[in-house]
Symmetry: C2
Subunit: 328 residues, 2 copies
Amino acid sequence: MKKALVTGGAGFLGSHLSARLLADGYEVTAVDNLFTGTKENIYPLLGNPRFSFVLHDVTQPFWGQFDEIYNLACPASPVHYQHNPVETLKSSVLGMMNMLDLALKTKAKVLHTSTSEVYGDPLVHPQVESYWGNVNTIGVRSCYDEGKRCAETLAADYRRAHGVDVRLVRIFNTYGPNMHPEDGRVISNFILQALRNEDITIYGDGSQTRSFQYCDDLVEAMRRYMELPRGKVDAFFAAKNLGAPVINTGNPGEYTVRQLAEETLKLIPESKSKLVSRPLPADDPRRRRPDISLAKELLGWEPKVPLAEGLAKTIDYFRAREKSAAGR
Amino acid sequence: MKKALVTGGAGFLGSHLSARLLADGYEVTAVDNLFTGTKENIYPLLGNPRFSFVLHDVTQPFWGQFDEIYNLACPASPVHYQHNPVETLKSSVLGMMNMLDLALKTKAKVLHTSTSEVYGDPLVHPQVESYWGNVNTIGVRSCYDEGKRCAETLAADYRRAHGVDVRLVRIFNTYGPNMHPEDGRVISNFILQALRNEDITIYGDGSQTRSFQYCDDLVEAMRRYMELPRGKVDAFFAAKNLGAPVINTGNPGEYTVRQLAEETLKLIPESKSKLVSRPLPADDPRRRRPDISLAKELLGWEPKVPLAEGLAKTIDYFRAREKSAAGR
């Protein structure tokens, strides 16, 4: 039986990936320091004898024997990653070092989750993997952006210099059940406002666009990527002249923020919420949209879940959560 | 008596800074793992009772009580920093963490030496501190560039979140005695070729320009910067709206590579070397030139040593070195 380690395994994406790996027949160890992850996200998995949870902070070394390491640990939303910027950077950089050292010792494969934030405030649209990005080294977002960039560099060098089989995905905006309700993302904000009959706040005129990838689509891409034989990955990326195996995963479909709000209200017909406009903040995230040609070519993958379907599942999740909170 | 710690203290710049701090009346502890630094660089200092050398690798914690920490440790030329890319990155990132942790524990001030390489292949000329740079995260130079960028991020966040008094300099091309003879830099290459009567190799037509800062000018800037009261530094940079106190130091004067070769030969009249042209390599460093307005305004500093004078001192150093090697 194959053994997988999932760091950040009690987080939004880690919990979905852990569930999928169990469904695929793996023995799964999820580690998490529970800063943004929660036991609640993995309640459904805890009864499975092939699942273990270890409370562990990836800034410290972790040893064990695994075939595959999925490195997801890192606070990912500004409200969380700015809570303790030094620890955020350490979770990216030391976490990556510790996982690469574990891989070096045990010959495990590694799939590391990087982010569209490595492109920063991009000067190229849509973003391709060969774009180097436009990132401030000393700003308030830098702990996340530069920590993630530095983790990519470590991955590329452990691979080039020490032969570690490591693969990188740069994840664009992703949503679904188990999203942290307080992380300030537009989808969870809109859903919670609608369920609570509060005003739905749109910044600016709402014509700015976003792209939204449903979590199951991302997990599918990660599993396909990890399943590929190393020789195929190496040959593919050698021909692409990139310094490391890296693919974007995201949904290139663009929606305006106003469309998203209207779609959300349509799916919560009982809501009494109204759309209200607020001035656009100075640092409102710029438009970012993935070019997913590489993932398509390498994995035969593209996102399948339409926004309405993913949104409905996410609403179901938050509805149940609100009910259970009200019943307590 | 003030106590200073100099990491990379047996290296090219560290040895000059240590000598200057001794001259300024400090008690100086130089730490170095001697990967590119050498005991030879600090022979003249070893007899001074206010000087100590500690063989230590900054990727490991280091404890002691100092008023000022000058963090210089990191291999700085491609031939050295690509020797072991993972260790290069660790010396930047873990070295910075260890020094910031030491500062946090002891309330020491920190001056960290960053580099013009954080600008990468710049799209803005000359480079100003507010420029975010253009750097590849996964290429063969990334271990240095991204390691140095990540160290800046750590410095900015230890300062913002934990109050550490840390100041950053981004150093542009610098030369002088104690440069490593094998580090492949154009000045040491030309001088050694001229002294050895070998052909002086110019890549391309030699019209590409470089800027060259003499080591004493840099050391002067670093000392002035560290001497400033914290309140003055904080107020200056708050008004500049940069995320951290960071200044470029370099010599904005530009010389063509051919001019440098001719100047070198003029100062070594006994040389039988001839200039020869070779094709320009694909990755020849792009033009990079510092904007030093901030350093001028904050420190009242600008480079003073003319190229001919600095070059003559550097030639004296290499001449003595070649003679002593021949005598062995």
